[in-house]
């Protein structure tokens, strides 16, 4: 079967190469049939990649250890679910997932791009072909998942930290996000190559960009929750380069989603938007490079890595190529209108863009600096939490504030009187919240008070937007309150979906602030019967319990939790000893307080042979708002993504002459 997998990958590679070369020739010479043929090659490459994927999944399910990949990442005792998720547990499988998602996206985006214009689509196909060719080339010549060996009795197993239900969903979500950013990139480049700088490429990719951005956001939140419940250090985000790898393109895509609205509404920022698309895609490639090249641990592992230099070369090619193209098309991208006032909705979008890009670039510098430092000086440098926190506060807090200011300011310009009227209630709410927080003793963290005050301001501004909008719609249409509210959202899904997403970011900010600025941490070595106290809760250690599972031994400390005299329950932090992998994992125990949104987080730092436990306890106020933010985020993204029949009719009329049959 490995031969079939290899043959399918070679077929996919040849088809993508054909889409690149044949598609370029067709677009350049204006050959219709060749363009259609190149488009069909994308479809064929998807089918071939599906076959390759099926071969690898089949080998994993059968425990076929003649596949080197299967032997390296699974074992006979590994439960079937985790055996299948090992598909993306290693480098070769991850690259295959990239190619599968990319070829799927390519087919779907090309087949649904009815309004982009045939001349633009003709260039989109080779651009998608170029990216696909690169990944197929890696899979065929550099890192094949179908390398074979003499079958061994058992495999090496899967890293214990990957043996978690989140691993079934977190990586695919991230990949749907990373790879999805290829679509707006390909359409932007297609439009530039075809010398068409109208809005068709934006209209064609609007939903794809939003979907990719949403997947990337959800993937990161799932990753944060996985880190929280599985890694066992008590946090959810450690500014790890792999985490940053997903955050950077998400920030760039967020900036693009905002600034593209200025292009749609005012015809401005065409160059900036194309640059943001290039930046977002470049950062998604860089993110994959970071996670897959081995460069993160050490520059030496990078030189040993087989795919690192290929990735670096491709990133340079894409960056240089797209920037050259943007430069060559500058005369076509000049805006005819200018910013009318620095106090307007478009101006707040511009400030938001500058802050988002600045945050993305400072994170990028934090990731790249240790690598450059090692290359130049030969010494390892580390960029740690204080660096990132400084820039998160510097750029993040103004960003939070802007989320409240933006919706209150009108497009084009706003007078002081109008501003005074719209800002009154949110400002009053923020002021009251700030004073109440200080009175309640939250002043121990200056950043915390600022973040919470800004959060109240934003939430009040969003609520006011919904209220004022509903009142206006009710007055306009003579509707009831519920009908006016739903009509308000239905008539501008992107705006109100966006506000819901803003609300989710505020919840996230509140959760992060609570869990970091107001966290209480206590550590103690306890013998059975001894106790410790954390933020008013008394923890009594009762001893250990041990259980044998299919592929590991689970050891759990038994900790009874009391608040005053009230017994709150038994919690069981401990460790798992994995046999095949010869590794030990931390298994935390968490008490969720749904009423306050806080968590009591217990870690068995050390299980001692004399029967004692080194127990670490963390009280994390409001941390559960972070996970609630995920649900609100999904809701907002769905509202924004939902098809709008009125908008569809308008676009159908606008692009009637340019619509193509695909």
């Amino acid at each position: 079967m490995a031969d079939l997998g290899r043959a399918a990958l070679v077929t996919s590679f040849l088809l993508l190469l054909y889409a690149l070369v044949g598609g370029s020739l067709a677009a350049w010479k204006g050959r219709r049939r060749l363009a259609e043929s190149a488009q069909n090659a994308l479809l064929g490459s998807f089918a071939a990649t599906v076959v390759a994927t099926a071969v690898l999944v089949g080998a994993l399910a059968r425990h076929d250890f003649s596949f080197q990949y299967v032997a390296d990442h699974t074992s006979r005792e590994l439960p079937l679910g985790y055996t299948l998720t090992a598909f993306w547990g290693g480098q070769e499988g991850s690259l295959l997932l990239w190619l599968l998602v990319l070829s799927g996206y390519s087919v779907a985006a090309v087949l649904t791009a009815r309004r982009v214009g045939r001349e633009v689509l003709a260039w989109v196909v080779p651009t998608l072909g170029l990216v696909g060719t690169f990944f197929a080339l890696l899979l065929v010549f550099v890192a094949s998942p179908f390398a074979t060996q003499a079958a061994v009795a058992d495999g090496a197993g899967l890293n214990p930290s990957l043996q978690n239900p989140y691993m079934a969903i977190h990586p695919p979500m991230l990949y749907l996000g990373y790879v999805g950013l290829t679509v707006p990139f390909a359409f932007a480049m297609g439009a530039l190559l075809a010398r068409r700088t109208d809005e068709r490429w934006i209209v064609a990719t609007r939903r794809w960009t939003l979907a990719a951005w949403a997947f990337l956001g959800i993937g990161q939140l799932l990753g944060a929750h996985w880190a929280y419940v599985e890694i066992g250090w008590g946090g959810f985000y450690a500014w790890d380069p792999v985490e940053n790898a997903a955050l950077m393109p998400w920030l760039a895509a967020t900036a693009f989603l905002h600034s593209v609205m200025i292009q749609e509404k005012r015809g401005m920022l065409k160059v900036w938007n194309v640059l943001l698309v290039v930046l977002a895609f470049g950062l998604s490639l860089f993110g994959t490079f970071l996670t897959r090249s081995g460069i993160i641990q050490s520059i030496h592992s990078f030189t040993q890595s087989s795919i690192g230099p290929w990735f670096l070369g491709f990133i340079c090619l894409i960056t240089a190529g797209s920037l050259t193209l943007v430069f060559a098309r500058l005369p076509l991208l000049r805006a005819k209108t200018r910013l009318e006032s620095l106090v307007s909705r478009e101006a707040t979008f511009l400030y938001n863009n500058l802050l988002l890009v600045a945050l993305a670039l400072t994170i990028l510098w934090g990731v790249v600096y240790p690598i450059l430092s090692e290359v130049v000086t030969g010494q390892t440098a580390t960029v740690s939490k204080p660096y990132y926190n400084f820039f998160l506060h510097t750029f993040g807090l103004p960003l939070l504030l802007l989320m409240g200011i933006g919706p209150l300011v009108a497009w084009r310009r706003a007078s002081l009187r109008a501003l005074g009227r719209t800002f009154l209630w949110p400002l009053a709410a923020a002021l009251i919240a700030g004073i109440a927080l200080l009175a309640a003793g939250a002043g121990s963290s200056r950043i915390g008070v600022i973040a919470y005050t800004f959060s109240v301001f934003v939430l009040a501004a969003i609520a006011l937007e919904f209220v004022r909008g509903t009142v206006a719609r009710k007055a306009l249409g003579g509707l009831g309150w519920a009908a006016a509210f739903s009509s308000l959202i239905a008539r501008n899904r992107r705006r109100y979906g966006g506000y819901v997403v803003h609300a989710s970011v505020v919840l996230l900010a509140i959760g992060v602030t609570g869990a970091s600025a107001y966290e209480t941490v206590r550590e103690s070595r306890l013998k059975p019967g001894q106790s410790m106290t954390v933020a008013g809760d008394r923890l009594v250690f009762r001893g250990f319990r041990s259980r044998l599972e299919s592929n590991h031994r689970a050891i759990r400390g038994l900790v009874d939790v009391y608040r005053g005299d009230k017994y709150l329950g038994r919690y069981t932090p401990g460790k798992n000893q994995y046999f095949a992998e010869d590794q030990v994992s931390n298994e935390v125990s968490i008490r969720h307080d749904w009423l306050t949104g806080g968590d009591l987080f217990l870690i068995a730092d050390q299980v001692n042979s004399n029967g004692s436990i080194d127990l670490k306890a963390l009280q994390k106020p409001l941390v559960n708002l972070l996970w609630l933010a995920g649900f609100v985020f999904v809701g907002g993204a769905l509202i924004a993504l939902w098809p709008d029949a009125r908008e569809e009719r308008r676009l159908a009329e606008r692009y009637a002459g340019a619509t193509v049959r695909v």
Partner: protein, 108 residues
């Protein structure tokens, strides 16, 4: 091994047919050039985008005025130019449509 061979062969045949399909369907096409919008179509597209932008801006302004984000003075100053812009775009689109119609009639 046989199953793999069959699936592999089938995949290769399907892919070759798929890629060759446009040429098999039209071995000798009357016109093999890729359709590109002419100058008139591009102009229409630009005008339609401009019209939609102006109309959307007008709608937005009306709504912002109703919700109190735009003062009466600002509204009066902004609404005139926006209406003119929308009217100009609509006029230009009508003019362009009638020019195209005339050309079609002349040719016909």
């Amino acid at each position: 091994m046989t199953a793999a061979l069959v699936v592999g062969t089938l995949l290769a045949v399907v892919c070759v047919v798929l890629v060759a399909l446009p040429f098999l369907r039209e071995p000798r096409p009357g016109d093999d050039t890729l359709a590109r919008p002419d100058a008139q179509e591009q102009r229409r597209l630009a005008l339609a985008e401009e019209r939609d932008r102006a109309l959307a801006a007008l709608k937005e302004l009306e709504f912002d005025h109703r919700t109190g984000k735009v003062s009466d003075d600002d509204y009066r100053q902004l609404v005139g130019p926006l209406r003119r812009r929308a009217a100009e775009a609509l006029r230009a689109l009508d003019l362009q449509a009638s020019t195209v119609e005339e050309q079609v009639t002349t040719r016909g």
